[in-house]
Symmetry: C2
Subunit: 321 residues, 2 copies
């Protein structure tokens, strides 16, 4: 039996539109127990969903004998506000309006709950357990269905005046009417080009504009994974797609560096695994576009956290702060 | 005679390529005494220049009876590094290489010396004496010969990993080869369009591309001041120049807001005095380009510090920190 003072564990929860993952994590970043079985959209009300999370928390605590040892719960959730602990008008969750997540879950569980979006959670995760250990100034860019970012300056996550700072997926890269429509309703956002879905859009565009043969021409609904597989096999159009994507991401990163002069920019998420196909044009574009003052200073790195662990770890790290 | 413990005054020094200004400042931002007579470029060596500054400091202290009351000296200087106290490879100063400003001046004067660039000094000045009093998250954009910026997040100035963060004049606004050459050697920088010199360049460009009559056509070397005077008189091309400049600045600011979600963006320097001619298109472009999350949150403000005082006040504020 552990005593009440030894609160040396945290719980990480990653709330996604499809599934929600929960894990108990120790100070070294080991996940002692986990449950990835909550189907987010299957709960009619937000309170039922919170009850389901609370049940899993209780079960994991009992299973690991962690009673009294949980310091806090960190949650990564879309459109969530660190300051208020609320989820606010999330597009890809089934419940509308302002959802008092931290308040409701902490009352039910009896454990303090901290909330932020998944990109901020990734940044805290990198600082606590990952590539950014010991760094005071860095930017994490998450390359998934969308493009998100978590910015750390002077060792602190940047939340801004409202809790929502760090939306680098929505800086404008192509101005005017030729910019692609973005999910946010604007045009030309980084996310519309450099997310997994952006890569698939670029693929469709290039298959129309180029005449080269390509194995991508046989695929009905192209994904970024297909483009990666084709690039590995030397497919010219696939390589060109990554060249374009990496170049734009590098141009954007050169601007981000002019803002906060970080030690490192850390790429996180599925697309970051594209390796040299993405990283080589990206680094070239950073070097070409960066202001002389910053040349060669910020390292471009890829997260080393395992994909299957990263979401829980990132969220859990919030509870150590 | 004051006692040694009452260190309730600071000294502000603004080092410019042409002139250097020094003043003694109290906690309310009153300049008790000043000297604006140092001609920067007239000193053969950096050490002679530092000696000249030290002589002025001594004289101002004696004149105001401030012996023992000076808490510190804050210096705003081009290409200067807060962490090291050095000026590093400044383009528009006569001495080359790394100049140990803080070290040399503090040894000679016996007073602690803190150094940063003029845009950062402006941000600290706004926070201490100006429009940003009480704000924890804001961005100051200086619109002078160049475009500079000082970024405050969580109440701290952002210096980044190297002391040089906050070069928002050098984010790329026009990509590719059609971007204007910038003084930094790159193309399409915000500074190449939205500085005072950028406005003059836009004027020349528009006088060629438009056929409208304009009073600007009679001026040999157009300045941003000429454009302002013409706009006030209803000159169509002059109004169009400010429309273009304000729009681009607003587009850039919408991106900056996505980074740090500040309470306010404060415009500082000569061009900021163009009033509605610049501010109306600027605000319109911010509203049009901003991500829905941030709509209506960050205020666009103009510095209220008097131009003649701002440089000394901004630098002096560094010594209170």
């Amino acid at each position: 039996m552990v005593t009440d003072v030894e609160k040396n564990l945290v719980i990480g929860i990653d709330i996604g539109g499809t599934g929600t993952k929960i894990g108990i994590v120790d100070a070294r970043g080991e996940i002692l127990a986990r449950d990835e079985g909550i189907a987010t959209a299957s709960y009619a009300t937000f309170e039922e969903f919170v009850d389901a999370m609370n049940d899993v928390i209780k079960r994991l605590i009992t299973a690991t004998g962690s009673e009294g040892r949980i310091r806090g719960v960190g949650v990564g959730a879309p459109d969530s506000n660190f300051y208020t602990g609320n989820i606010e008008h999330a597009f890809n969750l089934p419940w509308k309006g302002v959802l008092p997540l931290a308040d409701m879950l902490s009352k039910k569980s009896g454990i303090p709950v901290y909330v932020t979006n998944d990109a901020n959670a990734a940044a805290i995760g990198e600082m606590t357990y990952g590539t950014a250990k010991g760094m005071k100034n860095f930017i994490v860019i998450t390359l998934g269905t969308g493009v998100g970012s978590g910015i750390v300056i002077n060792g602190q996550l940047v939340y801004g005046c409202d809790g929502f700072a760090g939306e680098l997926g929505h800086v404008t890269m192509v101005r005017g009417n030729e910019g692609r429509m973005c999910g946010c309703g604007r045009r030309g956002c980084l996310e519309a080009y450099c997310s997994a879905t952006g890569v698939a859009r670029t693929a469709k565009e290039m298959l129309v504009s180029m005449n080269e043969p390509s194995m991508l021409r046989d695929i009905k609904e192209i994904t970024s994974r297909d483009v990666y597989e084709a690039a590995r096999k030397g497919d010219k159009i696939a390589l060109e797609i990554f060249e374009k994507t990496g170049t734009m991401l590098g141009e954007a990163i050169a601007d981000f560096i002019a803002f906060s002069s970080p030690e490192a920019v850390i790429l996180f998420g599925g697309l970051a695994r594209a390796g040299k196909y993405l990283l080589e044009p990206l680094q070239k574009a950073v070097d070409k576009n960066i202001l002389h003052t910053f040349k060669g200073k910020a390292k471009i790195l890829v997260s080393k956290l395992r994909d299957s662990d990263a979401a829980i770890l990132g969220a859990s790290a919030l509870a150590w702060e």
